[in-house]
Amino acid sequence: MSHRALVILIFLLSITGPAQAIQPDEVLNDAALETRARNLSRELRCMVCQNQSIDDSEAPLARDLRLLVRERLTKGDSDQQVLDFLVARYGEFVLLKPPFEKHTLVLWGLPPLVLVGGLLWLWTRARRHGSRHQAPDALNQEEQRRLSTLVDPAARDH
């Protein structure tokens, strides 16, 4: 190693900044398993960070969790088993997509409720208005006469 490279290396090692998100040494050799690990990582929250998944986070805890996920996967856990294990250990806070339960009823339920409710309301309103306004009454004789005078000035002479 040249002297110059050594200086740079020391400089780089001295940097006390954030480590990088996923490191090369974490990557599993089994591509299918690694893909599952990455997908799981995106669903899991780095609990010491603000709204970052462990896949994105540079915190040491996120790295520990990434390694843990991979360890469980290589031991043959299913995706759900890994998630259950982490929830048992860290609570629901670790899931970025909260499960559908009693305390998340409003979270999951409100948007579809508003959408469906809104559609129903529009539909009933349209029907109500439709029956009232779509077929206006036919003109009576007097109106018909006034209309023809307006449309055809020659008719005025008659």
């Binding site: 998100a21 629901e92 997509k97």
Partner: protein, 659 residues
């Protein structure tokens, strides 16, 4: 001296604001023209004084006057000039001053260009505008004064957060604030209409350009923020569903809905009450956005100011303006007369559907962002709501909305013909199907849904152009006729087409990059090569450079495509001694609309560096689409109809309040 000048100017602006908050209202009540006319002058002068305050603060930063607390905390004498200026709003106090500067700017614009507004409406609008301004002047002066001095001036400042030392800070916050604060005009118009108890199509015509301008800035601001996060945060995501991002997305969704419902109101005098509500909601969400970011109630990757004490003040502002606005709405709106009936299958019907989907999307973001806070406050349970939740709930809302989008502008007012429109969209639909098939054939791998996403994007893009193509007779008439008709077509028609086209472009980018992005995470020694998506990158070595206020280690990579060198990428790690922090500067190489993204990691003992290399196919389309949307807004804004504004008010108002 200069900070005191700025401080004093701000106090004077407050004094003027207080006058403007009261005098025009009295004038409008007593029909006193001079009192009402006062508002235009005070609005202009408020802008002048806030402008002086802002310039004074800039002067403090440019001259590195570290006797001022905020300058000491957020600047450094070695920073390049551009960052000295941008760090003015790179902190809480300065960003609030920028907020009121823009508020005063919009107020002055209404004062200067609102000549053909009815005098009482104008008086109320400017008064409401000033209520907001006064609340924020007081907030700044009492809790967030940027001009406070230190007893003894330190020799050197503590420097701006290195992540913010980027050209993005020069563009993103001002654009975003122009968007946020621009929503205040629609709000003021809505409150004024409710106070007056009168609203008509002309009102919509006055409000629409302001909303359009605010929406344009918001679109550009969000896109800029997204691109900034993409290249600065070092992991190549374009949208994180971060609460701070959500805070800007909510007013955008409400503003988009407002833009469309105001069209219905202007053309057909319908949806009046709904439009008023949206105008109030859009600004309420802007205020909530400011609150979420500023109060420290959420701490997120973007937040650079946390102080719960200020939160109480902002919360009070929220309660007064949102609560007050909605209460006034509940009280006065039933008095307004509804107008303009229409069949469900019509342009109006399509726009109502658009509004339903957009507001539901907005609600989804709102609930998702605030639910964890509410749950924790009420039950103490902690849950996380992140990207997987939003992706899952947002797609079912946006897919039908995008599918319906090309239909809207082709529908006739009052009563449309959905089959006829579908016929006119045959070309768009056919191209979409071809795109689906082609995508399946070319790129079978990846998500099975992706080809449909591409097909939808193509359908949206072609569909957006259909109206214009038909109206100018492209492919049917001789070129001279086409040219004549094209120049005769209202710019708002072009604007609609371009903005809707932009939505398709953005969708194309999102689908492409989420499906076909590829990455390599490797440790490389000098002269080793990594290949990805047909590119080979050779690590040439590390070098050290010195910037104006940092040192950086730069890794040089030569990029080859099929053996031919196409360029050099130089990702780096910057070390800012003043804050003892390091930032990762990713290197980007643009190839067409795709990008190679290279981010530098740690070094290990054996002299290798770890790198994350991404290939992001068609990623630039995400932001180019947003640029097209904003430009579409600009085209519409330049439409003669809107530029000239509403006609002079007739002697008799068009619409009287319902008895």
């Amino acid at each position: 001296m200069i900070p005191e000048l700025g401080h004093y100017a701000l106090v004077l602006a407050l004094a003027l604001g207080l006058i403007q908050a009261v005098a025009p209202v009295i004038g409008a009540r007593t029909n006193d023209a001079p009192l009402m006319g006062l508002a235009s002058s005070t609005a202009l002068m408020q802008f002048v004084f806030v402008g002086v305050a802002f310039l004074a603060l800039i002067a403090c930063y440019v001259t590195s006057d570290f006797s001022v607390v905020t300058v000491y905390e957020n600047a450094h004498s070695t920073m390049p000039l551009i960052y000295k200026i941008t760090s003015v709003w790179g902190n809480h106090e300065g960003s609030m001053l920028l907020w009121v500067l823009i508020l005063a700017f919009f107020g002055a614009l209404v004062g200067a260009f609102g000549r053909n507004l009815p005098s009482t409406l104008k008086a109320y609008v400017l008064a409401v505008q000033s209520w907001i301004a006064c609340a924020f002047y007081l907030f700044i002066l009492f809790t967030s004064n940027p001009f406070l001095r230190l007893e003894q001036a330190p020799f050197e400042g503590r420097d701006l957060n290195p992540i913010l030392q980027d050209i993005g800070l020069a563009i993103h916050p001002p654009l975003l604030y122009l968007g946020y604060v621009g929503c205040s005009i629609a709000f003021s118009f809505a409150i004024a209409a409710l106070i007056e108890g009168r609203i008509d199509a002309a009102w919509a015509r006055w409000v629409r350009p302001w909303t359009l301008a605010a929406w344009m800035f918001l679109t550009a601001g969000i896109a800029m923020g997204s691109y900034w996060a993409y290249y600065e945060l070092g992991w190549g995501g374009f949208w994180f569903w971060d609460p701070v991002e959500n805070a800007s997305l909510m007013p955008w969704l409400a503003g988009t809905a407002l833009l469309h419902s105001a069209v219905v109101m202007e053309k057909r005098n319908a949806l009046k009450i709904w439009t008023l509500l949206l105008a109030i909601l859009a600004f309420s969400l802007s205020l909530i956005g400011t609150f979420l970011v500023r109060s420290g109630v959420l701490t997120s990757v973007h937040t650079f100011a946390n102080d719960p004490a200020r939160g109480v003040f902002i919360l009070a502002i929220l309660v007064v303006f949102i609560g007050g606005g909605l209460a006034l709405f509940a009280w006065r709106a039933p008095l307004l007369k509804q107008g303009g009936l229409f069949a469900p299958i019509s342009r109006e019907g399509a726009l109502v559907l658009n509004n339903l989907f957009l507001t539901t999307a907005c609600l989804t973001v709102f609930v998702g962002t605030l639910y964890p806070l509410a749950l924790e406050a009420l039950t103490g349970e902690k849950i996380s709501v992140g990207a997987p939740f939003f992706n899952l709930t947002f797609a079912p809302l946006f897919i039908p909305l995008m599918f319906a989008m090309p239909f809207g502008p082709l529908m006739a007012w009052k009563r449309g013909d959905v089959l006829g429109v579908a016929q006119r969209l045959t070309v768009a639909f056919g191209t979409g199907i071809v795109a689906v098939a082609a995508t399946f054939a070319i790129a079978g791998r990846g998500s099975a849904l992706a080809p449909f996403g591409i097909g939808l994007a193509v359908f949206v893009m072609i569909g957006a152009g259909t109206d214009v193509v038909e109206r100018i007779g492209l492919f049917r008439e001789p070129l001279s006729t086409v040219r004549r008709r094209a120049s005769g077509l209202p710019r708002s028609a072009w604007g609609t087409a371009l903005a809707h086209f932009g939505v398709g472009v953005t969708l194309l980018g999102i689908v492409s990059v989420t499906t076909w992005a590829s990455e390599r995470i490797v440790a490389l020694k000098p002269s080793q090569t990594v290949s990805l998506a047909g590119y080979e990158l050779t690590f040439d070595g590390l070098a050290q450079r010195t910037g104006p206020n940092y040192r950086e280690a730069v890794a040089k990579f030569t990029v080859r495509e099929a053996g031919v060198p196409v360029g050099v990428m130089e990702p780096s790690k910057r070390n800012f001694a003043s804050r003892a922090t390091t930032t990762t500067e990713a290197a980007l190489m643009t190839r067409g609309v795709s990008q190679l993204y290279l981010s530098l990691g740690d070094t290990s003992g054996d002299g290798s560096v770890s790198v994350r290399l991404y290939h992001k196919p068609m990623v630039l389309l995400i932001w180019l689409g947003a640029v097209a949307m904003a430009m579409g807004g600009g085209l519409s804004l330049s439409d003669r109809r809107l530029r000239v504004g509403a006609p002079k008010p007739a002697a008799k108002p068009a619409m009287l309040p319902a008895e």
